[in-house]
């Protein structure tokens, strides 16, 4: 009797312990896709917020906006409310909020990153390229020509993402991602500007130009009124020194911000991107037949399409769960899937089922054919990626990245050299960044930790 009871408990304990350990093991292993994202991005709030790895001078942008607005509300508004109207801080407040919200949205939104092609897809494309008749001893031409609105457009093959880039897509070297409708990589917002966040960026620069003009105008009015009451501009400045700081910042910012807003308004009205404009893709020098094939030939329609068009959701699915990759097919399916099911909604149910089917199919194929297949190689790349991601996310290592971005930002700023506030340098920075980033995608310094990662996915385990 005692022996029977002991045996029963033993069996049950064994079963629960194995399920528990395997569940624990699997629950530790179940990760979200952002943790293994191959591009150079940082993720916060469990994948809800994303930034470029080199966030550039985003902190400087935020600090400048807050300082200028803070000084305005603290030192200029009381005087102006007393002399003029209470609406001044109200308008200033609304503009300030708008600027901050749109800035944060530009920085934290996925600009339209295209996920990299999976190995099967990449192999299929390589096969198609090889079949197109070029010799095997020289690399085949990695472009494809298509007709869009009776205009010949060349699609380039991206060797990092292993796919033919859709039209208007470009690979950002700083973020190491292909971005749809790539405009430019803005160091001031610390992110690429692409299809999904262009409207936020445009709203940001337009509202910022309104804000800087408004603050500039108000501060000038304040100093003028004060100098009339104290009979001297010097005395007025002595009484309100903060206003001078604001004037200096706003004066240097206005030219570049207004210029940028005007430039982007032109781009929006003609449905162009900065990238296309800089490269002169549709300029008349290429012949009269070439024109922008994407324009609707109507300023109003172009504006509506670019700014108010439908908002595509993020394609990289950063909060999705990774499929089980290195677990044996049958044993873990009943222990792991409940965990999946509990966390995912119905959409993910289908996804996880399909991925389970595919991973099962993959692993059975691999066991039989021993090809360098995906599921076996992903643990290598994922773990190393995770280690490199964890290194760069930790605050102690912040200095290298800011040092790099400092170095990178300093190069263009050295050219117009010592302008305080250096918002004027923004325009130079924009242009220099664009010119540099188009062909040789390296500024010669960036610690390309993750650039090796895509290759690792193809190295067989043994």
């Amino acid at each position: 009797m005692k022996n029977c009871e002991y045996q029963q408990i033993d069996l049950r304990a064994l079963r629960t312990s194995t399920t528990r350990t395997s569940t624990n093991k699997n629950s530790q292993r179940v990760r979200r896709k952002w943790e293994v994202f191959p591009g150079k991005n940082r993720f916060y709030c469990d994948g809800r917020i994303m930034l470029a790895r080199q966030c550039g001078v985003l902190p400087l942008t935020i600090v400048l906006i807050f300082i200028t607005s803070g000084l305005f509300f603290r030192f200029d508004c009381p005087f102006l409310v007393h002399q003029l109207t209470v609406f001044i801080p109200v308008i200033g407040g609304v503009l300030f909020l708008f600027v901050v919200i749109t800035l944060l949205q530009t920085s934290f939104t996925d600009p339209g990153i295209l996920p990299r092609a999976l190995p099967d897809e990449a192999a299929d494309i390589e096969k198609q390229i090889d079949n197109s008749g070029s010799s095997t001893y020289r690399p085949p031409p990695r472009t494809k020509e298509i007709l869009i609105n009776n205009q010949v457009v060349k699609l380039k093959y991206c060797s990092t993402c292993k796919m033919f880039r859709p039209p208007r897509t470009s690979h950002c070297s700083l973020c190491d991602n292909c971005v749809e409708r790539f405009d430019h990589h803005c160091p001031w917002v610390g992110n690429c500007v692409g299809k999904r966040n262009y409207r936020f960026f445009y709203a940001f620069i337009v509202s910022l130009s309104f804000l800087t003009s408004f603050i500039f105008g108000c501060v000038i009015t304040h100093l003028t009124l004060r100098s009339q009451s104290v009979n001297g501009i010097i005395q007025a400045i002595k009484e309100s020194p903060a206003s001078v700081v604001e004037v200096v910042i706003c004066f240097f910012s206005i030219w570049s911000i207004l210029g940028l807003s005007g430039f982007h308004t032109y781009l929006v009205a003609s449905n162009l991107t900065t990238n296309e404009d800089i490269k002169g893709s549709w300029s008349s020098k290429r012949g009269e037949e070439s024109g922008n094939p994407y324009t609707y030939n109507n300023i109003f329609t172009n504006c509506c399409v670019v700014l108010c068009g439908p908002m595509q959701p993020s394609l990289i699915d950063r909060r999705g769960f990774l499929p089980p990759d290195d677990t044996p097919p049958i044993v873990t399916s009943d222990t792991e899937l409940p965990h999946f099911m509990a966390k995912n909604d119905t959409n993910m149910c289908t996804q996880s089922t399909k991925e389970l089917l595919e991973s099962v199919a993959h692993s059975t194929m691999i066991q039989s054919t021993c090809t360098p297949g995906t599921p076996k190689t992903t643990p290598v790349s994922q773990e190393s990626l995770l280690s490199t991601v964890s290194i760069t996310v930790s605050p102690s290592s912040k200095s290298p990245s800011t040092g790099c971005s400092g170095r990178q930002a300093r190069r263009p700023i050295d050219v117009p050299c010592s302008q305080r506030g250096s918002k004027q340098a923004a325009l130079h920075t924009h242009k220099t960044m664009l010119r540099v980033s188009s062909p040789p995608y390296s500024l010669g310094h960036s610690p390309i930790i993750l650039s090796d990662a895509p290759n690792m996915g193809f190295i067989p385990l043994n």
Partner: protein
């Protein structure tokens, strides 16, 4: 978590899936063909690429791939892809509704995107449901599986071809 006799993993999965989807017992018959696919080996994958002749809108080529010639009807395939193209066109349609959504979003500094589901997302859910139905009704019995393009970044429609022998045995 009850133990189910037979092949534990997928039966359990299919039951839960059908509960989640609130479908009738016809789901059980349909899951048999997906269960067959689990036991089948993947022969190859076909990728239907994007068609950019109308611009950057999401549209897939309706050209019938050669690998599927022995498996299915050309008409059926073209109909599936055409329906998908129409659904994507509906998602990206520029009209009064999308402009209204865009203007409202602009006025609220785009904060409504945090609480509201966009029209595009609603259509994507419709597309997912459509692909699910197509898989169950048409493709799984033929030993094929369509993958939702959104899972491949809207680059391709991936069709997985499974071995034929396990389908015939049922």
């Amino acid at each position: 978590m009850s133990k189910v006799k037979g092949s534990p993993g997928l039966c359990f999965v299919e039951d839960r899936r059908s509960n989640n989807r609130k479908r009738s017992s016809s789901a059980m018959a349909e899951t048999h063909s997906l269960q067959d696919l689990r036991q089948a080996a993947v022969t190859s994958k076909v990728f239907v690429q994007r068609d950019y002749t109308s611009g950057t809108i999401c549209k897939f080529q309706t050209k019938f791939p050669a690998e599927l010639e022995s498996r299915m009807d050309k008409q059926q395939f073209e109909e599936t892809i055409q329906t998908l193209n129409n659904l994507y066109a509906e998602a990206e349609k520029l009209g009064g509704r999308s402009y209204l959504e865009g203007c409202l979003a602009c006025l609220t500094a785009y904060t409504i995107f945090l609480c509201m589901e966009t029209h595009y997302e609603k259509v994507l859910k419709k597309i997912a449901k459509y692909i699910q139905e197509q898989n169950e009704k048409i493709y799984a019995p033929l030993g094929l599986l369509l993958t939702d393009p959104i899972e491949r970044g809207l680059r391709v429609v991936e069709i997985t071809i499974f071995e034929d022998r396990s389908i015939g045995s049922r």
